[in-house]
Structure formats: C-alpha cells, structure tokens
Symmetry: C2
Subunit: 340 residues, 2 copies
C-alpha cells in the first residue's frame, strides 16, 4: 500500500473535487463528482448528523448511483449547497432518468461552523451559490487545509480543515478519502505535535513527527458547545462495488475516524462516512478484496484527517491556532507575515 500520485481522493480515476469558500462567511463547500454517475453508500455514527438524500443510499433502495456528493459548512443551512449542485447538474443534462426528466441525485452532509466568527447574518442562504461554484471548480487537483467545507472548521484544540489521502493497494485497486474535520475531539495527542493517526502516516504526509509515546490521562471535555462539531467524510475506490459492498467500506472507514480523532463519534458530532465506487475495476475475490478495501479506507481516512489539520493555514479572525503555526515555526512565521 502506497499513496497515489496526488495523494488525493482524485487518484481514484474519474473522480473530481471542487472547493468553494467565502472568507467573510468563514465557510465553504466541497463537491465530489465524476463524468458518470457512481455507486454510493453511507454509514452514520455520530449523534448529531445533518444529511440530505442519505436514505436512498440504503442497498434496498431504487436509485443505485449518484451524480455528486456534497460536504458543506453551514449546519442545516448548508444542506442547500446540494440544491445549487443539483440545479447546475440539471442544466448539464445530468441525473436519474424518469421519463424525459432527469433528476440529479446529490446526497450531502453538513458540519456546524455557525459560531466560528464568520458573518452569518446573510439575508439569502449563500450555500446554493457556493455549491454551484464548488461544482464548477471540480477537477483532479484541489486544495486541502483551509478550503472548501473545511474552510471554517475547528477541532477541540487546533484549527480543522479539509483533508485527503489515497492508497494504491497490492491488488491494484485505488482507495481515497476526503474529509472535512470539525471534530469535537482532537487530531493531536495532548499538547504535542504528534497526530493520533501517526501509525498510518505515509511519506511524511503530515509532518513526519512520528507517534506520541506519552498520552493524556485526563478525561476529555467537550471544548465546543452542543452541535458545534462533526467530521464528514467520503471514501472512494475504483472497484466495482454493489451498494451493500460500498456500505461495508463506509462502516470499516469509521475505524479511521476512531483512530485519528479522540474522542470520536460523540453525541455532539454528526460523524458520518459516504462511500463511492466508480466501478472501473471488477473485484477478483469479493471477500479478500472487501477486507482490503475496508482496511485501506480506514487508513486513508485516518491519514486524510491528520492532513486536514496539518494543512490548515491561519486567516484573519481565527479562533484557534493552526498546527503549522504552533509546531512548524518557519512555515508558521511565513503565514503570520501574510496574514498579520
């Protein structure tokens, strides 16, 4: 298992990701899409989820493919990002065919960033436009850190952000993860720079600081108020999966969240994982390949979470320090100079 060439979820051939963000709003949207519809599933484990079109992702439901998946800030208001994406996809002639009508299928999930210091006094919901902009920006390359749905994200300690990572498996399959990290918990161990995800780090992708050797013994406290949290993710593969197989990959991927964030899956987080399968490659051994995909998805998600926090950059009005500012003096100095 090694990272793909971009170390992004877009190493899964065909997938495109677009970000849009509004600095005054301190929030944004990230869209995952592809030229063709793809299989998708979801597994929700947090106690405070905010979702749209997730019921249709159950394996017994009629629609088996989606046109895009949307991660958004904005709490329940951010669900409208998917409306903007759906409108734009409709104009492009995309969607599930019902007679001569096409209905774009755009499941989405949100995180809570309404108390992060941004200007939330809008008259018109800004998320449909952010969704359209994010879709228009969809490309194989995209920014991580303070970008898209992770633009205004915070964790229990350091700034959160948008993260991504990928892996090419021994069986030839590619797996990737995309995540907006706004957890109540922490991605780093105690007050140090080491990430909980350190055992899974590849090629120094989040600083190469290694694993912590001492660990906090005190009980974590909720550092934000009720509903202020949530980590939302997508894991993807080029394997040909049924919706049920994709759902199993989503379940397994939650282990990566558990390993990279402490605590995770709290009553105050709406933690969930979508799974996407583009279907380019048939499984050669459904059981062994499903085993490998689940583990790889968990690894990629853990790495993507650490990369999100590692890549976050300071912007004016921040309520929390960035990992880089605190633990990487040279780079921290640079960014402080740009944004005093």
């Amino acid at each position: 298992m090694k990272p793909g060439p971009r170390n992004l979820i877009t190493d899964v051939p065909g997938l495109l990701v677009g970000n849009a963000q509004d600095p005054a709003l301190r929030s944004g949207v990230t869209v995952l899409t592809a030229a063709r519809p793809f299989t998708a599933a979801v597994h929700v484990m947090g106690g405070a989820p905010g979702t749209r079109e997730t019921d249709l992702l159950a394996p017994d439901k009629l629609v088996a493919e989606v046109d895009a998946l949307v991660l958004s800030g904005g709490s329940a208001f951010g669900l409208d990002a998917a409306s903007g994406v759906a409108d734009a996809l409709r104009k492009a002639g995309r969607g599930f065919a019902v007679g001569d009508i096409r209905v774009p299928i755009v499941p989405g999930a949100i995180l809570f960033d309404l108390l992060n210091g941004g200007a939330k006094d809008w008259d018109e919901n800004p998320y449909p436009a952010l969704g359209r902009r994010a879709l228009a920006a969809a490309a194989p390359e995209f920014a991580i850190g303070t970008a898209g749905a992770g633009y205004g994200a915070m964790t229990g300690t350091l700034k959160g952000g948008l993260g991504s990572a990928s892996a090419v498996l021994g069986n030839g399959l590619t797996v990737g993860a995309l995540v907006a990290v706004n957890a109540l918990g922490s991605a780093t161990v105690g007050d140090g720079p080491e990430f909980w995800a350190a055992p899974w780090e590849m090629a120094g992708e989040f600083g190469g600081r290694g694993a912590a050797t001492t660990f906090p013994t005190d009980e974590p406290k909720p550092m934000k108020r009720t509903g202020e949290a949530t980590t939302i993710a997508i894991v993807a593969t080029d394997a040909a999966l049924t919706t049920a197989q994709a759902q199993r990959m989503a379940v397994a991927a939650h282990d990566g969240m558990a390993r990279a964030l402490v605590p995770s899956h709290t009553p105050l987080d709406g933690d969930l994982v979508f799974a996407a399968a583009t279907g380019g490659r048939a499984l050669t051994d459904p059981v062994a390949d499903s085993f490998a995909l689940g583990h790889a998805a968990a690894c990629c998600l853990a790495r993507a979470i650490a990369r999100a926090v590692h890549a976050a950059r300071p912007i004016p009005g921040d309520l929390q320090p960035c990992w880089r500012t605190r633990f990487d003096p040279v780079d921290g100095q640079t960014t402080r100079n740009v944004f005093p």
Copy 2:
C-alpha cells in the same frame, strides 16, 4: 478516570459475570447478569454477526430491560447458550411478565471457534449446559484470559481470550467492558509486544510495555478463513440510561475496538457491542455525561481487548502462541513447563 477496584465490568455495582468452559470442546460461555433486570442496547458493525434477541434492543421496541447478556463460542450453535440461561432464569422466576408467565429476556452473540482444534463432534449441542453453568457461576469476581467465551479464541497472530476493564469517572459514574476477543485482526503491533491499545493502558494492566514507535507498512491479510473471527463485547455503566442512550454508548464503544484491533470491523468479523445500564445513578447533565460515558466505554473496551490477549494462557493443543509465552519469558517459562 481510574480503574475500579477489580478492574472488571463487575465494578459496575450489581453486575455479575460467570464463565463456563469445556477444555475438550475448546470453547465456552460468559454470562453477564444482575439481581434485577437492566437496560440494554446493541450496535453491530461487523460483516458476519451471529446474534439472538438483538432486534428487541432497538429503542422503539416494547421490552426495555433484559435479564442477562450472553457471549458464547460455538458459532451459530453457541446461540443455544442463551437457551440454557433462559431456562435457568425461568426456574428462578425471572423474566418479562406476560400475564402470569415470565419470559426471560436473554440477548446473545457468538464468535466462531469451530476450527480451533477442539472436539466439535458432539451429538447434543453442549452450549445450553455451558450457558446454565456460566449463569450459576455468576459472581463479582471472574477469570479473564483463557476463560468463558474467550476460552478457545484466537486473533490474527496471538491467542485471544476474555478481557475486562473498568473506569471510575470524574462525574462519579462507573463504566466497565467485557469482551471475547477472536478477531481476524491483531491486538499487538507487528511482531512486537506492544498493544495497539497502549495509549489507553492504566496501571500496567496489560504489561506496561508502552506504545509502539514503529508500525507495519504492509497490508494485513486475513489470517483465518471466512467466518472464523469476531470480537463480541459488552460495555456497562451504573448510570440511568434510556435504551437510546445505551445504544449511543454502544456506538461510541466501537471506537475502542477500532483502536485496539487492526484491522477491525472487517467483512469477516461479526464485531458488535452490547451496552448495559443498571440505572443506579441519574445523569446530572445528559449531554456531557453521555459524552463522558461514550469515551470511557471506548477506553474500557480498548483496555479490555488488550487485557484479554495479555491474560491468555497456553493449554494443550493450542494453534497459536500466547502473548505471555512469547513476550514474558519468566511467566512463559512457567507455563511451558506446566504444558510441555
């Protein structure tokens, strides 16, 4: 957060645990019960579960309390352990009242230990009797390691077993975990003695070796055949919880499994967690207490998993080495002398 006086799930006042095992069968049963019925819930995340009476544990279902929870070896045959427990509870006048009839409510789950070298050629299913024996043995003290439902358990690398741990929280609540570890994955890191659960270890409860600093980079392979695995657990508290609150604790506890076993929640494991609440103590802050209980349950389960593998002892016919035999020479020597 510190361990309770026994560092067992029975530190939750009122809970009793009994083990029964059959050396020739290389299998056994563990029963959790109490003098009074208690609230219970479950969350299943593995791909190959074997369960009984778990549907009634959903928060919307009529029956809100159970008389016992049963963990058993024996794959689907082991579900009959709960029959033996229910029969014995019926004779004791226990159970959900329907008119003048009482129906004991005994949810259970099994792990697969049918290919562990034991004598599986029985004419009569041995699990009802093992269930009755385990119930009769229920007490505040019980053995961990090679005992009860973990008697014949194996992991991907070392012998599995039965584990338990407890924690007393700052809010005064007690949390405990009980687990039979038969995972496809491994509880230790690579070929070393360090446990994945090391960050959560308290008071050297599983050897005090600290955390690993180097980590395997190769992809794990299924070390057993399809269906040969499964880690089944119970987390418990003396808090007064609704079934829905108990279910949330079960969900959060799965993080402990993800942190203590790699990989976890595979398509070949029937990994699940029951939650039990004896209701002795009212919550003072439902949100903050639920947050604390979930994190404590995850910590206790991770510790209990490591303690299961750490406490396993060699018996004749073992197909796998014990952690102690391999990594604790003095103790390993002793046990090798006893069982050459």
